[in-house]
Every structure is written in structure tokens, then in C-alpha cells.
């Protein structure tokens, strides 16, 4: 095994181009488990800890550019305002020790359906910035997950950052597990209200071969909110609408039975989380969010 230690992003891309089989390692919280247990013996480990820009973020504009290696701890501490859904999801990752090392790039690279960041990234509508010596491209999060633990990266590409629009409304994340820490999600759900575009987006974790959106549920809810002019009136979402939304979210799941839970449980629980997160976010929107809009003189 070779340990490659690029000091810059350009060096990292060159190393990945020269050794497409090299396994990138940053926080190590996935890769080292596989190595410790002899599940993986890559010829090259590509250490990204020395590439400092991967640990940095820019949050000045309308979009946050979050370096792939920014630890979850930092996201919780510094980005709760612009990225509330992702900050909540970050707080549910494993333990303080793991959150001090792991970041979103690793979640995306591993692309496990259980990765905690995915539902939040899906709900927020993130874009993944990937690069190789051939150039840089941005992959919409909807196109990123291609199969069980598979993603849209080419062999010579590395994940550099994610771009996430600054939240324009409330966002929530909820996860089912046996305790608050050290839990691989039985299932998870992210929901973001986007008052600027009058849309709602969702993300489901651990309940299908990949992280997925509940598109039919979003379409239904978007239409219902529009029809009843709820974005303007700020009235409560009718219980029947919430119920149907929850049922459609359950229907978007394609889960399996495993040690953590049965398919039936997961489907049911996702519906419960969908209804709860809708209530939480909509109540928050009716309160502070919308009031602020009105003060600002919005139509």
C-alpha cells in the first residue's frame, strides 16, 4: 500500500489521475473501518487532510460553498443559520469524536443510503462540486446517487465542495434510532420549505437503495399549498393535506428488512417523520419566517 500525501488540491487531482484506484481518506471514519476490518486493501490511500481549502467554507453570498472536509462539528457551530437542515443532520452524526473528523465529502463519497447528510442535502437542493485534472463540474444532488453505495463520480474525480442555497425558510431533519448518539439511521427524513420559490423539498434516508426525494409528495404538497394560498395566508396546513403528504412520503420508500428495522416499520416511520417535520417547519414559517416577510413589505 502507498500513502499519498498531496499538499495542494492540484497535487491531489494529479495523484488521483495517476492512480484512479486510490481511495481518498479525509476524516477516515468510513475508510479506516474498512481497512481495520480487512474489508479493503487499496493500493493507494490518498490523504486529503493536508489540502487545507477542503476544510474551509464561504457563506457570504446567496449560496454557501462548503468544503468537502469541513467537520460536522463546524457545520453545527457555524452554519446553523444558512444551513439549518444540514446542521441538524450533522448533530445526529455518531459522536463528538466522529463529528470532529467526518464531513459531508465522506458521506457523499461513501454514498451509503444511511448517510445522515443526504436527506438534508436533497431537501436543500445542493450541488456537488467535483473535479479532476480534466476540469471541474457541478452535479445536482438529485443526480448524484446512482445506486447502493454508488455515486456519479468518475474514477479520476474528487469531491471538492457542496454548494447549498442559503435557507429562505425553515428546515428540519429527523432520524429514527435506538438512542441519540452512535446511531446508524433506521430511517431519516429531511424537509425544507423554500418560501422564495414557494416549493417544498424532501429527502429520505435509509429507506431505499439510495437516498431519495419523495417527489410525488412534494408535488402534491406544493399544489395544495398553492391552491389554498397558504404561503400567503399563513394558515395551518389542513390535517388531510398533512396525512396525504405523509402517505406519499411512505410510498416513496423502497426499503428492505435488516437488523436495524423491517421494511414495513421504515415505511411507516418515514410517514410519521414527514408529518412531524411538515408541522414543525410550517409552524415556524407561520411564526417568524412569514412575519419577517410581511415586515419587509413582500406581497
Amino acid at each position: 500500500m502507498d500513502f499519498l500525501r498531496p499538499a495542494s488540491w492540484e497535487e491531489a487531482l494529479a495523484a488521483k489521475a495517476a492512480h484512479p484506484g486510490a481511495v481518498p481518506i479525509a476524516g477516515g471514519t468510513d475508510v479506516m473501518v474498512e481497512i481495520n476490518f480487512d474489508h479493503r486493501r487499496p493500493e493507494h490511500l490518498l490523504d486529503l487532510n493536508r489540502v487545507e481549502e477542503l476544510g474551509e467554507w464561504e457563506a457570504d453570498g446567496d449560496t454557501v460553498r462548503l468544503g468537502a472536509s469541513v467537520p460536522y462539528t463546524r457545520i453545527m457551530e457555524h452554519l446553523r443559520g444558512p444551513l439549518p437542515g444540514l446542521a441538524l443532520a450533522s448533530h445526529t452524526v455518531a459522536s463528538p469524536q466522529i463529528r470532529n473528523r467526518g464531513g459531508v465529502g465522506g458521506n457523499l463519497g461513501t454514498a451509503s443510503p444511511a448517510g445522515d447528510a443526504h436527506p438534508a442535502l436533497l431537501a436543500a437542493g445542493a450541488e456537488v462540486e467535483v473535479a479532476s485534472v480534466r476540469g471541474t463540474r457541478r452535479i445536482p444532488i438529485d443526480d448524484f446517487y446512482t445506486g447502493v453505495k454508488r455515486n456519479a463520480l468518475a474514477a479520476d474525480e474528487l469531491i471538492r465542495a457542496v454548494h447549498v442555497k442559503r435557507a429562505s425558510g425553515p428546515q428540519q431533519f429527523a432520524k429514527v434510532g435506538t438512542r441519540n448518539a452512535m446511531v446508524i439511521a433506521v430511517c431519516a427524513f429531511g424537509l425544507a420549505l423554500h418560501p422564495d420559490t414557494r416549493t417544498v423539498r424532501t429527502g429520505i434516508g435509509s429507506a431505499a437503495p439510495t437516498p431519495v426525494r419523495a417527489r410525488a409528495a412534494e408535488d402534491f404538497l406544493n399544489a395544495a399549498l398553492e391552491e389554498d394560498r397558504l404561503w400567503d395566508s399563513g394558515r395551518a396546513v389542513p390535517p388531510s393535506v398533512a396525512e396525504e403528504f405523509a402517505a406519499l412520503c411512505s410510498a416513496a420508500c423502497n426499503p428492505i428488512d435488516d437488523v436495524r428495522g423491517t421494511a414495513g416499520y421504515r415505511r411507516h416511520a418515514v410517514g410519521v417523520l414527514a408529518r412531524r417535520t411538515l408541522t414543525w417547519t410550517w409552524e415556524a414559517y407561520r411564526g417568524t419566517g412569514r412575519a419577517a416577510d410581511e415586515r419587509g413589505g413582500a406581497a
Binding site: 500513502f3 500525501r5 481518506i25 476524516g27 477516515g28 473501518v33 481495520n36 469524536q97 473528523r101 452512535m182
Partner: protein
Amino acid sequence: MRVSFTVNGRPQEADDVWEGESLLYVLRERLGLPGSKNACEQGECGSCTVRLDGVPVCSCLVAAGQAEGREVVTVEGLADLAERRARRCAGGDGSGSCASGACGTSGAPLDEAPGVPAGDAWSRAARPQDSQAGGGGGLAPIQQAFIDAGAVQCGFCTPGLLVAADEMLERNPDPSDADIREALSGNLCRCTGYEKIMDAVRLAAARQAEEAAR
């Protein structure tokens, strides 16, 4: 490969390190520091917790090569670290002011405050020395609190808990029970049921506050 880094304030070199080796393995098997324990090797138990550039991490999940040039503190260095913190609070760094009694040392070079004589900063430092203790002196206050509160049974989880609890008290000298539970949520103990561990951390926090008030 060779890996050079600082452990508990001392420069260390490990040779013939296999590229896939963990920092935990290097500490235990190559540097003779068996304080950090190996129970799961997958980040689940926290018994391997060390500080990497001040930050608590699972050393089983850090590739040895990633520690190159960095500062590591293990349980063997806790007494030393506490002493240096105390000296700084007592004005050893020239600032002479410390409101909390828990100056953050995260990221600060571990060999700071040279020339300050190892002294009487902690009266408890005169306790019998653990044979494995890496730095001179006896026990760190957090270690003493664990003993006094009866928070150690088989002891396998203890080194990781000590490192994690010590770091929390440095950041947050007056933690709520919820803060303590969260800070220690990545550390499993199969013996104590955690109540005595909670007692120990509360005790250490109280003693730290007393010390600071002096």
C-alpha cells in the same frame, strides 16, 4: 513508512509503519503507550480517544500517516496537560488572568511555557505515580475525580472517557448534565452504568471551579 509527530509534548518517530495502520496501533504497539485502548476499531466505543491537534478523535480511525507533524495527547499525557493549564492560569504565560480555570489549550503548542519550573500547581500531583504515566507528576484532576467518585471498574473505557471529559471541561468549565452526556456520548462503558462517571465529571468540574476561585 516513517511517521514523525509529537506525543504528549515529546517528538516521536515510528518506523516501518504500514500505510494502512491506525494511529491507535502506532501509539500502542510502536511507541509503547498502551493507555489508549482498542475495543472496537470502528469508532463505536471511544476507548481509543486521543486529542489530535487539541481535538478529541478516535485514534483507531486516524491513519498513522495523517498524524505526521501533528500534536497528539493521550491519557498518558493528561497529568502534564493539566499541569500546564494550571500554570498558565496561575500566570505562567505572563497574562496572569483566567476567569474559568480552564484556559483552552486546543491547538496551542504543547511545549509552551518553557523554563517554568514544574511546581506545586496541583497539590494532587504529589499522588503516587502511575507506572504508565508518560509525563512526570501524578494524576490529572479528572483522573483523581474518577477514582474518588468510583467511576472506574474494569477500567477499559476509562482512558477514552478521561480524554473526552478533560477536553469538555477545558471548553466548558460549568457543564450541565446534558452537556456531559453529549460530550461523552461517543464513549461506551459496560460496567458502571455511567452514573458514577457523571458524578466524577461533576466532581472534577466543581474542583476546577474551586481552584479557579482561589
